[in-house]
C-alpha cells in the first residue's frame, strides 16, 4: 500500500513522500507528533491523514489481500507467483509449447514411455537446462538426480551440457550484448558439479532418500529441480503385499508433492510403461496402476509415431491435451519440426 494512492491533498502527499513516508506502514510505525514535526504541519492535520490512511488500510484488508488463515493465498497471488517462478525449457520448442512454456515449478510431472524412447535423455536434459543462467531466461539453479536404474551416464551429461553452452554462446552473439555479466563463463564440468546425484539400489533406499530430500533442499536452497529416474523400477519386483506397495507409493507421492510446493520447484518422475488388457486388446499404459495415476499433477506419455518420437499430454489441470514431436540428437533433446523445415527450405 502506497501513500501516493491516498485520497489526500497533493501538497500534503508530496510532503509525506519527500519526507520518506512512502508506505502506509511507515506512517503507523511512528508517533503523529514525529510526523507533524517532519512535515511542519499541525497535529490535527496529521490525525486527519492517519484517519484516511487507516480507512484505506481497513478496506484493503476486507478486500482480501491479507489472508484469513495464515499461509493461505488468493488465486490472483498464486498466478502472480507462478508467473514469476519461471519454467524449465526442454530444449524442444514444440514440447515446451504443449507444456505451456516448459516444465512448470511447484508441480509433480510424470513422464513415461517404452525403453529407448528418451526418458533418461529428457531427465539429463532438464538437469542441465535448470542451470541456464537467469540472463538467458533460465532458473540458474541446481538439480537433484535420483537414479534408480543406473542409466545416468556422465559422458552423455557432458555432451548435453556442451551443446547447451554452445547454444547459449550463439544466443549471446546473436544479441551482441557486451555485458560482462552475460558472458558465458561456465564449463561443461560445472554442470556436472551442480547435479546432486544419488544412486539408489532398492526401494527402501529410494524411500530413505526421498524422505531426506526436504532436509537436503533446506540446506541447498539453490536446488530448482528434482528428477527421479525412474520412480518405478524398484517397485516392480513382486511385492507379496500389494497393499503395502500402494501405501509406500502413496506416501512417497505426498512427500514429493509437498516438496514441490514448499520449495517451489518442479519434481520430475520418470515412469516405465506396461501393457494392459482392455477391450480385447493390449494397450500401453504407465506402470504402477490406477491409484498411482492420481499421484502426479501432470502426466506426459512419450511414444513412437512411425519413425518419429512424440510426447502427449495425458493429464494436466492447466494445459489442454496435445501431442508434439521431438527428437533425441547427439546434442540432446531437440525440436524435430524445425529440422524438417530446414531440410525443406534447402
Amino acid at each position: 500500500m502506497e501513500v501516493s494512492s491516498l485520497p489526500i491533498s497533493a501538497s500534503v502527499r508530496a510532503k509525506l513522500i519527500s519526507a520518506g513516508y512512502t508506505s502506509l506502514s511507515s506512517l503507523f510505525s511512528v508517533s503523529h507528533s514525529d510526523i507533524a514535526r517532519d512535515l511542519k504541519i499541525s497535529e490535527n492535520e496529521v490525525l486527519e491523514i492517519l484517519r484516511v490512511a487507516s480507512q484505506r488500510r481497513g478496506s484493503e484488508s476486507s478486500n482480501g489481500t491479507s489472508s484469513i488463515v495464515n499461509g493461505a493465498q488468493s488465486a490472483w497471488e498464486m498466478l502472480n507467483e507462478e508467473e514469476s517462478l519461471g519454467r524449465i525449457t526442454t530444449s524442444c520448442s514444440e514440447l515446451d509449447d504443449i507444456l505451456g512454456g516448459g516444465i512448470s515449478c511447484k508441480e509433480v510431472t510424470e513422464i513415461g514411455g517404452v525403453p529407448g524412447i528418451g526418458k533418461t535423455q529428457l531427465g539429463i536434459q532438464l538437469a542441465v537446462n535448470v542451470q541456464i543462467p537467469m540472463d538467458y531466461g533460465g532458473l540458474q539453479g541446481k538439480a537433484i538426480y535420483i537414479d534408480t536404474e543406473g542409466s545416468f551416464m556422465v559422458e552423455r551429461a557432458l555432451q548435453i551440457a556442451d551443446a547447451c553452452l554452445e547454444d547459449m554462446r550463439e544466443y549471446h552473439g546473436f544479441l551482441k550484448r557486451d555485458l560482462q555479466a552475460c558472458q558465458v563463463n561456465m564449463q561443461p564440468k560445472d554442470f556436472l558439479e551442480n547435479i546432486f546425484y544419488f544412486r539408489v539400489c532398492s526401494y527402501t533406499e529410494q524411500i530413505a532418500v526421498v524422505n531426506y530430500l526436504e532436509k537436503f533442499i533446506s540446506e541447498h536452497k539453490d536446488v530448482k529441480v528434482v528428477i527421479i529416474d525412474s520412480i518405478t523400477f524398484h517397485f516392480r519386483q513382486d511385492f507379496d503385499d500389494m497393499a503395502l506397495r500402494t501405501r509406500l507409493l502413496g506416501g512417497m507421492a505426498l512427500k514429493l508433492m509437498k516438496l514441490a510446493k514448499k520449495f517451489a520447484l518442479p519434481v520430475i518422475l520418470l515412469n516405465q510403461v506396461t501393457t494392459k488388457y482392455t477391450e480385447g486388446q493390449y494397450q500401453l499404459t504407465l506402470a504402477l496402476g490406477d491409484s498411482w495415476s492420481h499421484a502426479c499433477t501432470n502426466r506426459v506419455i512419450l511414444y513412437w509415431n512411425g519413425n518419429e518420437r512424440y510426447a502427449y499430454i495425458d493429464k494436466s489441470p492447466s494445459v489442454r491435451s496435445a501431442a508434439a514431436p521431438y527428437s533425441v540428437t547427439g546434442r540432446g533433446i531437440r525440436s524435430s519440426v524445425s529440422n524438417c523445415k530446414r531440410v525443406k527450405m534447402m
Partner: protein
C-alpha cells in the same frame, strides 16, 4: 539399513570423479571398431544385453570379452577376472581356448574365468544372492577381482519355467525385476560390467505400438523378430545391442549356376542411454571377433 550404508547413501556422488582417467569405466571388446561403436567398450555399473538368434555370434563376443576384461586398464581392459553363468550348452571351453591365442600377453587366461551352470531362473537369483562374498572376497585376495559377469542366456532360463497365463506372467516379470535389481546393485557396489544374452522371437502381427528401440522392426536371416521376454524385461537392461545375420549369395567365377553363400553379421544399438542409433558389420574368424570399418 546399517548406519554406514545410510550415511553413504545420503551423500550425493561426485560425478566429476567418474571422469578421472584412472577409473576405467568401460571394458574393451578386444577390437577398436567395435569399441568405437560402443563408445569405448562395455560400460561398468550397468547391464548390457546382447540380443540375437542363434548363430549370430552372441556367445563369441561374450567369450572374447572374458579375455579382454583381463587386459590391463592401460589397454582398455579391467585387469580383472570374470564370471560366466551359462544355461544352454556345455561351456564352450575349446572355443575360449582357441580365442585366447589372440591375447598372447595374458598369462593363463583360462584360470581367470570362473564358470557356473544355471538350471532355472530361480536358481540364477539364488546364485546371484550367494556371490556377494565371492565378489568382495576376491577384492582382497591375490588373484584379480571379478569385474565382469556374463549370463548366457537369460531367455533360456525363463522359457520353460512359466506358463502363458496372467498369474505366471506376473510372477515372471516380478522375477525379472528382482534379478535385474540384484545385478544392478552388484554392478554398482563392485564396479562390474554385466552382460546378459537374450534370444529373439518371431513377430507375427504388425502392431507398431510396441516398438522398442531405434528401429521399427528387426530383421535377421530374412525373419522379422523382436527380443524375447517382452516389454517388462526390456525395462530391466540399460543398453540393448541387436546382432543380426544375413545370407548373401555370391556367384562363383567358374560355372554359371554355381552359387556360394556368404554370411554377413551386423551389430546395432537398439537403445542405450549413452549411444546414438548406430551399427557396424563384424566378422567371426577362428582367432577372434572383430568389426569392419564402414
Amino acid at each position: 539399513m546399517d548406519q554406514t550404508r545410510s550415511a553413504h547413501l545420503m551423500k550425493p556422488e561426485d560425478l566429476l570423479q567418474r571422469l578421472s582417467p584412472t577409473r576405467n569405466q568401460k571394458c574393451t571388446v578386444g577390437c577398436p571398431v567395435l569399441d568405437r561403436l560402443l563408445g569405448g567398450g562395455v560400460p561398468c555399473n550397468s547391464i548390457t544385453e546382447l540380443v540375437a538368434e542363434s548363430g549370430c555370434g552372441k556367445t563369441q563376443i561374450s567369450l572374447q570379452l572374458l579375455l579382454s576384461a583381463q587386459l590391463p586398464t592401460a589397454l582398455g581392459g579391467l585387469s580383472a577376472s570374470s564370471l560366466y553363468l551359462y544355461s544352454e550348452s556345455p561351456f564352450p571351453l575349446r572355443r575360449l581356448h582357441q580365442l585366447s591365442s589372440s591375447f598372447p600377453t595374458l598369462r593363463n587366461p583360462l584360470d581367470k574365468v570362473l564358470t557356473h551352470p544355471l538350471h532355472s531362473a530361480h536358481h540364477l537369483f539364488d546364485v546371484l544372492s550367494q556371490i556377494d562374498s565371492l565378489l568382495s572376497f576376491r577384492e582382497s585376495s591375490s588373484s584379480p577381482p571379478i569385474k565382469l559377469i556374463v549370463i548366457d542366456s537369460v531367455a533360456a532360463l525363463f522359457r520353460f519355467e512359466f506358463e502363458n497365463n496372467p498369474r505366471d506372467l506376473k510372477q515372471r516379470s516380478g522375477l525379472f525385476f528382482r534379478i535385474s535389481s540384484k545385478l544392478k546393485e552388484q554392478a554398482r557396489r563392485f564396479g562390474l560390467a554385466v552382460v546378459v544374452i537374450n534370444q529373439v522371437v518371431d513377430v507375427i502381427d504388425d502392431s507398431d505400438g510396441f516398438r522398442i528401440g531405434n528401429s521399427t522392426c528387426l530383421y535377421t536371416s530374412e525373419r522379422k523378430v523382436c527380443a524375447a521376454l517382452g516389454l517388462s524385461w526390456a525395462n530391466c537392461v540399460n543398453t540393448r545391442l541387436f546382432l543380426s545375420r544375413h545370407e548373401e549369395r555370391i556367384a562363383q567365377e567358374v560355372g554359371d549356376d554355381c552359387f556360394t553363400t556368404q554370411t554377413r553379421r551386423f551389430i546395432r544399438v537398439a537403445f542405450a542411454p549413452h549411444l546414438p542409433d548406430s551399427y557396424c558389420e563384424f566378422v567371426i574368424t577362428r582367432e577372434r571377433v572383430f568389426g569392419l570399418e564402414s
